[in-house]
Point group: C2
Chain length 510, copies 2
């Protein structure tokens, strides 16, 4: 068995002991264990499954400060951010525990028999959602806790009743191992089969490919680059039995500065924008990489304050040297682009650091150069100056699918916002007003998704309780004896507090 | 513009006037019209959209007996069947009208703001499902009304708010034109943009390919052969922006004859089986092509009566000569197969007719010869004789994904049925007891779907109200002003009778 090393993000130096590299036989063993665990795990009661999810969170907290320190070292992200991310990770597990208990995710439906119906009687039909089977989850480099080993994909798959095999991200292998340790402890504490959770680790793409190709895997969750996501989609589609891939890939998250808001607070918006742009060295899927504004009052003030903020922004350690190098290349391409003007750039720092940078271009140039809409992962933003509403519309219609769109607006901007809304709805998963897209609330009404290529499947979300739907499929039961029916569909279960669609009418639970 | 002819199924002779063949420019025009109609159509009120769906049904009824006579001639199916299918088609449109009115399909979610929350306030988040955009629907040859021009795919897409472009099936072009005429009349009567519904016609695969590749198409519904479905999936995945394909493809629909039911009524089951096998010349997606039984009391009686029934079955006209030829080839392959015994065959008839046939084999032979599990579209069935429960389990686990599984069972069979259920749930979309899989109820708890290759996407159904979900995607709205929010998400809409997930709890509607 070969080995690989964890890397200290700030220095690029190896950190900790050499780590074992898993191979195809480890993938096969983890998938076999997941398959073996599936029937027992999916049959757990809602209460037992909820308790398990909560226990996962407790075991993560029990890792203590060592988890935070390790994640800081491996990711280069600051303590406060990682403590917040841990809270979010644990909160996400608790939310799914609550969802599992409430039970509406089963989408129970009952159509009672109509023995007297003419010309033919109607049989008794009942429906529920069942889990797909073992799920492969790929950890993301930019959220070592909340989108990685025990992150949202894992939490939602476990909530659905699917065992999970994680491909831990090699940019934070020790953090990933600690998190896996916590989940394994929770599995054991809850007397579940060991295969409910496994993690494989290693630096090669082949390892992930073997996981996606394993016949026991029934779905894939991924957050990362467009190239990485598309490669997994291709592998999954080429299987003898194709499986769904939920890949959250790339987005430049347009921010529209509507006229009245610019006029009222252009300078303040510029300052706030830089805060969102530079947060976490810009390494967010929802980083605001594209600003769209019409010429008018307040735009100069916005530019002045944004320029000042970017110029003053300190360099920040990026997650990996690969990400730093890709960021450098993306920034260089924009800097050298003849249709683009550099408004300001912050100190890029040295080594693995990256600095903020702000560009501007015209709507015509943006439309004529589709490469200007490519994601530059990091704290790089581009302002597109539009002459009028028609140019704004043209820009929006030309954009690829995005995770988010942001409207900065005042009351007088509402008619314009209402005209923009239908266009934005077709392009993005989340539309927000007077805030910044970074900061994705984990709740029920969140959509962290969007049309291709923001994700590989725009019909879903990877954050929030709706994410559980990704790992479920419907099964219908016709005229089955009560004793054979799944418990939540039996007559005796009516009144258990779980909502049901009864003969077409949704009856609420408790 | 070239021409093609409708064919009388019974005689193979041309019928009616030559029909125009549409070309790529017609596809582009239909898709452009659908895209142009989308914003207006998706903004229709629930009541207006429901009325439109009902009107579609009324216009179909207004076609009168000419529709039935035309469909009889083109499909070779008998009057009673087609009158029933028309009733189902119209009923399906009415059901979706009812669903649209009830509104739960929008999956409204509201997470109110928590301005005081620590460490960060929670924003106001609201979510709803919006329609994907123009949908391409492929008519099926075996249900010229219920799964074709105005069938389930069209009804569910229109209910979701998506304009539809149908590729009419060339096996019943005049029926398809009549149905299109009815839908076009409904569009006009309801003052909707013409592009809400279009149909293109022609015998070539290229026409369908052009439709799937048109950039304005956002999803595809298809019922037909495995080869046809997989070809469309491949085209859709290779687009610059890939789109979902909901293809309902192939299934042999295992029927398990459990010991006590066989013992109690083997002979009656044999007779009933032949009724389901031969219905519509066996040309159903849910035709019971595979029987699984353990050696024991009643199996001989079952075989005797099934054999008698098959031998006595009259030949029936098949849908097309292509389907007849494929059926003949499939039957010949099984007849000549050394591991297979022919139990009985009915009169195959002449020309475009097909006859019933029943084979048997052993569990070991079935497991050793995967080709025995290939679908033979028509009234061909194979009985697999198993020594014990272990062999039954092995057969089930070896099967590909299926639309249905049927259990014939008595009270004493319930423990065995309970052991089989988890295995069946992973293989099929619908499990039914003491009935036959042909006859798919259009209701809320129906799943006419199943794991690959029964369908290309096992997370859905193509029959029943859940089918609407295929054409929707979620959008989240954060901190949007009330006047900008979509109407059903505004505070003023609370109490409108539509269910909402409010802060994680499902509140029922009226």
């Amino acid at each position: 068995m070969s080995e690989f090393r964890s890397i200290t993000a700030e220095t690029g130096a190896p950190y900790g002991d050499p780590l074992p590299v898993h191979g195809p036989q480890d993938v096969a063993a983890a998938c076999a264990a997941a398959e073996a665990a599936f029937e027992v795990y999916r049959a757990t009661s809602r209460e037992d499954r909820a308790r398990f999810l909560e226990r996962c969170g407790e075991e993560i907290m029990a890792l203590g400060d060592g988890l935070i320190e390790t994640a800081m070292r491996e990711s280069g992200l600051p303590r406060a951010r990682l403590e917040g991310e841990r809270g979010r990770t644990v909160g996400q597990l608790r939310m799914f525990a609550d969802v599992v208990r409430k039970g509406w995710w089963q989408q129970l439906r009952v159509d009672p028999a109509m023995p007297e119906r003419q010309p033919l009687p109607r049989p008794d039909l009942r429906m529920r959602m069942i889990p797909l089977g073992p799920v492969a989850v790929f950890g993301a480099s930019n959220f070592p806790l909340a989108f990685s080993t025990a992150g949202g994909d894992t939490a939602s798959a476990l909530a659905a009743g699917c065992p999970v095999v994680v491909k831990g991200h090699p940019a934070h292998p020790i953090t990933a191992s600690l998190m896996a340790q916590a989940l394994t402890a929770a599995v054991k504490a809850c007397d579940l089969p060991a295969g409910v959770f496994s993690q494989i680790m290693g630096p090669s793409h082949e390892l992930g490919a073997a996981l996606v190709q394993d016949p026991r895997i029934t779905a894939v969750g991924f957050t990362g680059s467009r190239a990485g996501g598309l490669a997994l989609v291709k592998l999954a589609q080429a299987r003898p039995v194709p499986i769904p891939v939920y890949a959250e890939m790339s987005s430049i998250n347009p921010v529209l500065l509507l006229p009245q808001s610019l006029k009222a607070r252009g300078a303040a918006l510029g300052t706030a924008f830089v805060g969102s742009l530079t947060m976490g060295a810009g390494q967010f899927c929802t980083n605001p990489g594209l600003l769209i504004a019409m010429e008018g009052d307040g735009l100069d003030a916005f530019i002045a304050s944004a320029t000042e903020g970017v110029a003053a922004a300190a360099p920040q350690t990026m997650l990996t040297t690969g990400i730093r190098d890709a960021y450098g290349k993306g920034v260089a391409a924009l800097t050298d682009h003849e249709a683009v003007e550099t408004l300001a750039s912050g100190d890029p720092g040295e080594g693995t650091s990256g600095g903020a940078i702000l560009f501007q271009t015209s709507a015509q140039a943006f439309l004529a150069n589709p490469d200007l809409a490519d994601e530059v992962f990091g704290a790089s933003g581009i302002l597109v100056r539009c002459a009028d509403e028609a140019e704004v519309m043209a820009i929006l219609k030309a954009l690829e699918g995005q995770l988010t769109a942001t409207l900065h607006m005042d009351a007088e901007d509402e008619p314009l916002a209402a005209r923009l809304l239908p266009v934005l709805e077709r392009k993005v998963g989340r539309i927000l007003a007077n805030g910044w897209p970074t900061g994705v609330e984990v709740c029920h009404a969140m959509v962290h998704g969007g049309p291709f290529p923001a994700t590989s499947d725009g019909r879903t979300t990877s954050v929030g309780s709706l994410a559980i739907d990704r790992f479920l499929r419907p099964v219908s039961y016709q005229n089955l004896a009560q004793s054979v029916l799944p418990e939540p569909l039996r007559d005796t279960a009516l009144g258990d507090g779980i909502p049901r669609l009864y003969d077409g009418t949704l009856l609420a639970g408790r």
